[in-house]
Amino acid sequence: MADLRSAPPPAIGELDHVRGPPGGPLVIEYADYECPYCAQTDLLLIELSARRVFRHFPVPSKHPRARVLAAAAEAAALQGRFWEMHDALFADQGRIDDPHLWERARRLTLDLGRFERDRRSERVAERVAGDFRSGLRAGVVTTPTLFVEGALHAGVPGPELLERLTGGAASARP
C-alpha cells in the first residue's frame, strides 16, 4: 500500500524539473495543466523569475485530461524538452486532445513514435503518480499549491506572497 501519511514535500530530487535563476526563495509548485489558475500562477512565477520546482497534481474527476497532459510533459522530458512542453500546454489550455499533443510534439521536433510510447508507459505514469502522492502527503488539496520555505500556500499567490518571492521588487514595479 502506498504510504499517504503526512510528510513534508520532498527536497529537490534527481527527477524534479527545476527552473529559474538560483538564489532567492525556492518555490515548490504542485499544479495541473488543465487548471486555469495554474496557468495564471505559472505566468506570475515566470514574470518574477522565481526559482521553482514543478510537480504534477492531476485530479482526473476535476480535470479529465490532467493526467494525460502530465504524462505528455513527462514524455517530452524523456527527450529533454520538459519545459518546452510545459509552456506549450499552459499557453493553450483549450487544445488538449491527442491531435493537439501530437502537434506540439512535432513543433518541438520530438520523436513522435517515442513520445506516444512514453506518454502511455508505466514509467511515466509512475513518475506522475509519485508527484501526486508526495503532494497528498504534504497536504495538497487544491491546485495550484505552492510551498515556499516549508509553508503551504493554496491557490493563486496573492500580492503578499509575490512580494516575498521578489524580496519586495514586485511592489516597486509600475
Partner: protein, 154 residues
Amino acid sequence: MIEPGTRAPEFALADQDGNEVTLASLRGETLVLVFYPLDFSPVCTDQLNVYQEILPELERARARLYGVSVDSAFAHKAFQRELGISIPLLADFHPKGDVARRFGVFNAERGVSRRALVMIDPEGIVRWSHISPSPLQIPGANLIFDALEQAAAA
C-alpha cells in the same frame, strides 16, 4: 465536536440513490465521515475530487469514506454526477443537520455542517475527529492516513 473514545451516535441517512445507510450496517469496517457545508460550493468540490483519488488506498486499509451534508439525496445525486465521483454522499436533510448536530459539527448560525472529519472504528467507537478552523480550509487526505495508522497502532 465529538471526542475520540466516545461511541458514535447511531444514524440512518439516505445516500444519493435513496438507499438507507445506518451506522449499524457499517459495523466491522472503519468509517470516515466527511462532513462538509454544501453540495456545489467550490471548496467542497475540490475536497471530494481529491478524496476520490484516495479511495483505492482506503479500500486497502479496509476503510470506507462517506460525504455528509444537509443537502437532499437528489441534490447529492446531481452533485456526484457533476463531480464525476463515486464517493457515496449521505443526506442529513430531515431533520436538517440532525446527524451533524449529534456529532457536534453543526453550524446553527449558518444552518450547515462545519467542515469536519470523523473516523469511527469497526466497533463503532470514534477514534479521531478533526474540524477545520475555517470552512475554506480543506483537511488534507494525509490526515486521514495518519489517523488510520494511529488507530491501527492503538
